[in-house]
Amino acid sequence: MAINKPNEVYWEEKVGFSEKAWVLLSIVACIVMFMVMVAWAIAGKQNPPNEAYRVSIPSFAERAEAFIEKYKVDEENGIPVVEAPEDEDSYLIARMFYFSPVLILKQNQTYRIRVSSLDVQHGLSIQPVNMNFQVVPGYEYVLTIKPTEKGEFLIVCNEYCGLAHHVMKGKIIVK
């Protein structure tokens, strides 16, 4: 009937029982899925962070460099290694084509990490735990994060950022 005129009073035709039941089941599923999302936002432990600020790129770069200078403990392949303080915000810079610094975190300790880009958009992808966030220049994203396992974690960029996009890496060490 898809190309023919429907019954003029199609709006008054009765809907079959099974289709009615299916629509009802679907509506219930929709409401449940919505409520689950709301409930997890209130009580769940993994939620996309809500805290973000508009920043100018130079201001972010300046604060991040000062942070690195203050807490730097080592250097690895030219990238500073920083022991993240427990009572102060940490910084993570994304730029073509690396993340800086390498952050040393403690297991089960909560950190506030301020992330932004100094050039184009990047993707902050922590592997293999597989958590992904968008990094947008001009916006500072505050990730309040608690690593629950020990180890060395790779950061890869997962937003295309230029021809060397695939070499863009970083590291988080959880002790």
Partner: protein, 553 residues
């Protein structure tokens, strides 16, 4: 009303009046759709064989160039050209009406062709730093101005096509060529056209500002605002496809087995839900972005309490039910599934229709609902799971459904007999089967953390990575063959095929004598329940996976 004299013929199969100008527009759109599909297909195989890192075919810059080329041709040009043809068909031939302002119609299609040529030219020949910017072209990654200009010209052409659609429908009513409620197909395409209008306006805002910025006329485009506007275009653009594809499914179930929807009222309500709520889905791309709060994200990503998902669930029942009703009326009435087993699987339009329906639901639809959960998105954003999802929806779903329709367009509009029944019959299985394997591999790799849009992933140690990359690559090769068979067969048929005299011999159009009669649909009830359980299990598993990651807020 005075009859406006227009050149036309009567279709010997459907009895519809085919107006010359409308037919020409459909043909031009169809030809360029197939050309874009060819471009996209070449890009597809090259990038898939690079992502299969055991082969790793392309060097870096060519890979990113081809990725942009593939995305633009498939997601924008192939689909929108085909939809242009659908807009004309639904608003003229189906309504027994003429094409209003035929010159404006030709202008629209010329703009689309110019945009198509310009963008492809610059992607293939431009400085790779300015042209390998992907389909999304996120600022401040700056593309060549001609890239944006081509994009914009195409969008303006498409917008004019939409406006002409509404004028055609209005005119059909005014001139009295069509009275009463419009057919379901036209209703669905109208929904697609409404979605297209606000989609294209977003596109114009995002790409227009990026174009001015690339010329140096405006100094800065806010990266986050661009993302919001771009996805106001990029996501609903795929929802135009969704509405068009669902309309094509209804049409194909009617052509192939005489199917009728169990309830016009319910099916049409579902289309209305798409129009009202689907653009909220733009938020799917912004769920782990800075600058948008949880209430905004949750409200929008759920399409306002999943109202658009509800629409899809309605179609998920109504469409197989429609085929089941048609088959039962044709006498395949025994048991639960005789209608499906004895369906015309040797009619490529039917197999394309049903395979696209199943893959869309189980791979595309299910993964989309899961990925669109605000929290679960943290595990999937920008991973291979994203292209895994939309190769289930746009490629195996929309593209295959459109290919199914093309099996009728060639004999009925181009008036050529298909050269080979054999190749027509196996094509949907090749294309659908290959994409199924590929999309499942991509969805799995994505869940293991492998990113999308990346040339190599050697630093990532992931279980079964090599195996899954191989199945991805093999699936891509099979799908590539399926697409190539479709393209070559279509082109060769249009050039060398025998002219159709009277009714075409293949594929069959089922004649329905009692269109208003409906039967019960026990088989569809079982299929729908299986799908529901599958969705519930997948949804739950993904929440479990999320609960294992670090705490974050």
């Amino acid at each position: 009303m005075a009859e406006v004299l227009v050149e036309a013929r009567t279709c010997p199969v459907t009895g519809l009046r085919v107006v010359k100008h409308a037919e020409n527009l459909i043909k031009v759109n169809a030809v360029f759709a197939v050309l874009a599909l060819l471009f996209g297909t070449i890009g597809a195989i090259l990038i898939a064989l690079t992502r299969w890192e055991a082969i790793h075919l392309l060097p870096t810059d060519l890979f990113y160039r081809m990725l942009t080329f593939h995305g633009m041709n498939m997601l924008v040009f192939w689909i929108v050209f085909f939809e242009g043809a659908g807009l004309v068909f639904a608003s003229t031939i189906v309504l027994n009406a003429r094409q209003v302002a035929p010159k404006l119609g030709y202008l629209a299609v010329i703009l689309m062709i110019l945009g198509f040529l310009l963008t492809n030219f610059i992607i293939l020949t431009g400085d790779v730093n300015e042209t390998a910017v992907m389909f999304t072209a996120y600022v401040p990654l700056k593309a060549h101005p001609l890239f944006y200009l081509g994009y914009i010209l195409f969008a303006v052409g498409a917008l004019i096509m939409c406006i002409l659609f509404f004028l055609n429908v209005y005119n059909a009513k005014r001139e009295g060529t069509y009275e009463g409620p419009v057919p379901l197909f036209t209703y669905g395409i109208a929904a697609a056209a409404v979605i297209a209008v606000f989609t294209l306006v977003h596109g114009a805002l995002a790409l227009g500002s990026a174009f001015l910025w690339s010329l140096g006329i405006i100094e800065v485009v806010d990266a986050s605002l661009y993302r919001l506007l771009f996805w106001g275009f990029g996501h609903p653009a795929q929802q135009i496809n969704l509405a068009a594809m669902v309309s094509v499914w209804y049409l194909l179930s009617y052509f192939t087995v005489g199917g009728v929807t169990p309830s016009e009222k319910v099916s049409r309500t579902a289309f209305l839900l798409y129009v009202l709520f689907i653009n909220a889905g733009s938020a799917h791309h912004l769920l782990v972005d800075p600058g948008f709060g949880a209430p905004w994200k949750i409200f929008n990503t759920s399409y306002v309490i999943y109202m658009a998902v509800l629409a899809s669930l309605i179609h998920c029942f109504a469409i197989p039910a429609s085929a089941e009703i048609g088959q039962r009326k044709r006498g395949f009435n025994k048991g639960l599934f005789t209608w499906l087993i004895k369906a015309p699987w040797s009619n490529p339009a039917f197999s394309a229709f049903f395979i696209s329906l199943v893959i869309f639901g189980f791979i595309g639809g299910a993964s989309g609902v899961i990925m669109g959960v605000e929290q679960i998105n943290m595990k999937l954003h920008n991973t291979l799971g994203v292209p895994g999802h939309f190769h289930g929806t746009v490629a195996a779903g929309t593209s295959l459904a459109f290919m199914g329709l093309a099996y009728y367009v060639v004999p009925l509009i181009f008036r050529r007999e298909w050269l080979s029944k054999f190749w027509a019959r196996i094509q949907p299985f090749l294309f659908g089967g290959g994409l199924f394997l590929m999309a499942v591999s991509m969805n799995t790799l994505g869940r293991l953390g492998i990113p999308r849009r990346v040339w190599e992933t050697s630093a990532l140690v992931v279980p079964y990575k090599e195996l899954l990359q191989a199945t991805l690559g093999i699936g891509a090769v099979v799908a590539f063959l399926g697409a190539l068979v479709f393209i070559l067969h279509t082109v060769l048929t249009i050039i060398f095929g025998k002219r159709v005299e009277g009714k075409p011999k293949f594929p069959e159009v089922v004649q329905v004598s009692n269109p208003d009669e409906k039967t019960s649909t026990p088989g569809t009830i079982v299929l729908a329940i299986i799908f529901f359980l599958y969705l519930a299990i997948m949804y739950t598993i993904n929440w479990y996976w999320l609960s294992r990651v670090w705490e974050v807020r």
